[in-house]
Symmetry: C2
Subunit: 225 residues, 2 copies
């Protein structure tokens, strides 16, 4: 019995890693397509989302099967519950990549607006958070997960800065309005990637410590007990 | 044993309904605060989000306890898995209400932009979808859930119309830029409420029929088999 459940859990972990890899790749390529103004790259992101969607359904089924057939306990149970949530976050990140790619296809119809320094920095941060949240999940590393949660503020701050900068652009030159607006929406999508990374990191902490820190990120500033 | 699990499931259902009521109220008040330009109403939405956040954690705990202590099977198991997901959607809808309320507090610092006809219509639609998705959950009504999924397109279409109208405003009169931008972002939040309603409805269909229709909403146009 224990061997079979171990094998099933291993399969689930493998599926989640595949899905995480696809979501990571989608976000990476979407951001790259923005910087490189590459329509083929953007279209590739939109195409590839089908695999993510299919895998989401397969992972949900696997979780339910595991719960139904093996009646797992304690740690395994928390892991499966986490898998359910992680699966959802990964699928949404895939959708955000698609939204960014669709904006890119609009943006490249017009000349570039300005060097996207802050936006690419923010995208790097969000991608880093996402990657680290997944590493924290794989390594069951609550310390790394805690760091991810703390970094969310920096992304939020950059999002605000980008918003203000682009708003100023729009106010000063109405020819930039359409492009500025698209970039504001891209920035918002990137900010949501960071939010999903934070969700994942919170769930990792819950998985490892058995205690929810959701909605208590401010408590993270103090050194861990 | 069966009696105890029934009692626990009833408690879980009750918690979900409380949470759903809070989320519904939050969205309703946020939209009302936009139309009525009422800062107190908007601030109330922001304050009330704490209760939703606390309930989210309590519901997750209850689900895990149920899984661990009673090893539920088949239908009960699908219900608990659904509760997990529903809980997440409800918490996000609460967050969207907060985002809208925050935008309202900005918007009412300036004179009103224009009668918000399309936006309030879209908000009515999204709220109706959200309410119906919850009713479909309570009554295990796959037919109603299917209708909810189909209505998402109308909301998306309105969102695009609002976007284009506000973009035109911005291009024609730069004095409207800040307000138009805020309204575009509100419209986007409302559109996401409808997305969450669609998620919930898809999960209800899964719960009732044991088959995922995720990412297959186009199949819904055909009469149900």
């Amino acid at each position: 019995m224990r061997e079979r459940i171990e094998a099933e859990l291993k399969g689930l972990r493998q599926d989640l890693l595949t899905m995480a890899g696809l979501a990571e790749e989608a976000i990476g390529k979407a951001v790259k397509s923005l910087v490189a103004r590459d329509p083929k790259l953007a279209e590739g992101v939109i195409q590839a989302d089908k695999s993510i969607d299919q895998l989401e359904i397969a992972i949900d089924e696997r979780c339910l099967k595991l719960l139904a057939l093996y009646q797992p306990e304690a740690v395994d149970l928390r892991f499966i519950a986490m898998a359910f949530k992680l699966n959802n976050d990964l699928e949404r990140v895939g959708d955000l990549a698609v939204n960014i790619a669709e904006r890119v296809l609009d943006l490249i119809k017009e000349p570039p607006l300005k060097p996207l320094v802050n936006l690419t920095r923010m995208a790097d941060l969000a991608q880093g958070m996402f990657k680290d949240s997944l590493d924290a999940f794989v390594r069951k590393d609550a310390g790394l997960a805690r760091q991810v949660c703390l970094r969310d503020r920096e992304v939020d701050e950059l999002d605000h800065q980008i918003f203000r900068a682009l708003l100023t652009y729009m106010l000063e030159d109405s020819k930039t309005i359409t492009r500025s607006l698209s970039l504001i929406l891209v920035s918002r999508q990137v900010e949501r990637v960071a939010d999903h990374a934070t969700n994942i990191a919170e769930d990792v902490i819950y998985l490892v410590q058995g205690k929810s820190i959701k909605h208590h990120t401010k408590d993270l500033v103090a050194p861990p007990p």
